[in-house]
Amino acid sequence: MRIPKLPSSELTPESWYLDRRKFLAAAGVAGAGLLGAARFADAGQEQQGGPQARGTPYGLQPNDTPTPWADVTGYNNFYEFGTGKEDPARNAVNFVPRPWTVKVDGLCDNPGDFRLEDFLKPSRVEDRIYRMRCVEAWSMVIPWRGIPLKDVIDRARPRASAKFVEFTTLLDPRRMPGQRFPALEWPYKEGLRLDEARHPLTLLATGVYGRDLPNQNGAPLRLVVPWKYGFKGIKSIVRMRFTETMPTSSWMQAIPSEYGFYANVNPQVDHPRWSQATERRIGEFRRRPTLPFNGYADQVASLYSGLDLRRNY
């Protein structure tokens, strides 16, 4: 089977990988992942497209170039390692994300404490290039590696009464020095509606740029929900719990007037302290318009039909 041809901008070879062999291996996996994407792409939509094609795989826009490694791994929010955006890269150096156990509990028929390896093993690892839009109005394009969250949810066998899934980050102030200051109430918590969690775009990431996740990016396991603001992408996950009621995320708890449960990227609904109409792509000088659902509206807008997105921000 042929791997779909990608515009060269999506395969930016420039210092992506340490060496060519790794790059080729990763490109193979990426290709496989992209084929999987056809599952949910609009039927009949051009998949072979070059830059001119409407809707490249994963809704990647023609002018989306992966953000350099130095920015992806050197500039992000991970308050467990400090509130400055260059703190995580500095303060997470000595963090050891092994051994790692993920607890699955709540309303499901296959709960338990799983070793990370066992938790991930049954699934095929995929590479996916996603836009990441931070609620602070900056954005990146990040080549993630991971497994569909749907896989582990299906293995947990949630009961019919389960409507939401709540995630929890590791709580360990000795290993996560940012937790010694109560910037947020620790441990960090996030949640998704079960249909959002099962959506094929939702990824449980274990790597970036074809390598294991660096500590500062949420090693060993983090959530990636590309149509939502970045803070939904909870890092260093130790627990998944199925619930009937909507979980309260750490940011909802900290500043309910500014952060809601859904946190879908929405250029029409401003943050109380700044406009969300545009964003700065890291590395670019001119601002870009922010796209509804971060450009993934074709894939996800139907999840929210009938929901007032202005009130459910």
Partner: protein, 219 residues
């Protein structure tokens, strides 16, 4: 008053040195933004515009605190020659505030060069977002202080000049509130500025009480 330290007189070239030194951050960040975008350097990290914007804001507050430190420092050390540099520091505070505003308006939200954002966003920001309104108010209040900083104006305004320039206390407090509101949940950095400001303002309160008491005793 007797000088406590050894520099009762101004060291040679101090004024010129201060003028040059206070301009260094302004020039550095302007160059670094240009270099990061045009020449591919990484002086200011991944988001050079935000880095410069925040640095100019921080230097505004630092210059304001330095301005407010002159009088206590004079009283404590007897270095009265410091007095004539208060204007330099105050004008730099204003200049850094203007740079902070310009970086925000022109290259951060891109009011001027980009019709994508345009006036609407800036108007909304100014009117609907209290932390921006407060920052803007602080800067606007510095304008009359900068305008009346010349020798001629000081002479012409007489006693009302001192009254007018008490606005600097309001400016400093507003600037600090703006800083607290701009950081999300980590108030540790603005707290450092708040402690310094509280010390500088507290000294004035104590000092004026002490003087009033001394005057009372004499009378």
């Amino acid at each position: 008053m007797q000088a406590l330290g050894g520099i009762a007189r101004q060291p040679r070239g101090f004024g010129a040195l201060l003028v040059v030194a206070a301009a260094v951050p302004a020039l550095w960040y302007a160059w670094a933004i240009y270099s990061d975008f045009a020449l591919g350097s990484r002086y200011l990290g991944s988001d050079p515009i935000k880095a410069a914007e925040h640095a100019y804001g921080a230097w505004t507050l630092r210059a304001l605190l330095a301005t407010l430190a002159i009088t206590p420092l004079r009283r404590l050390t007897g270095w009265n020659w410091l007095a004539k540099h208060r204007r330099t520091l105050g004008l730099y505070a204003f200049a850094y505030g203007v740079l902070h505003l310009l970086v925000w308006a022109i290259i951060d939200v891109q009011l001027v060069i980009d019709d994508l954002v345009g006036w609407d966003v800036v108007k909304t920001d100014l009117l609907k977002r209290p932390f921006i309104t407060i920052g803007m108010l602080a800067l606007v209040l510095m304008l009359p202080l900068a305008i009346t900083s010349t020798k001629g104006m000081i002479r012409r305004l007489g006693k009302s000049w001192s009254k007018l320039h008490r606005l600097v206390y309001v400016v400093a407090v507003l600037g600090l509130v703006h800083f607290f509101m701009a950081v999300k949940l980590d108030w540790r950095e603005p707290l450092v500025y708040a402690i310094v400001l509280a010390a500088l303002l507290g000294w004035r309160v104590v000092e004026s009480r002490r003087r009033a008491a001394a005057d009372g005793a004499v009378a």
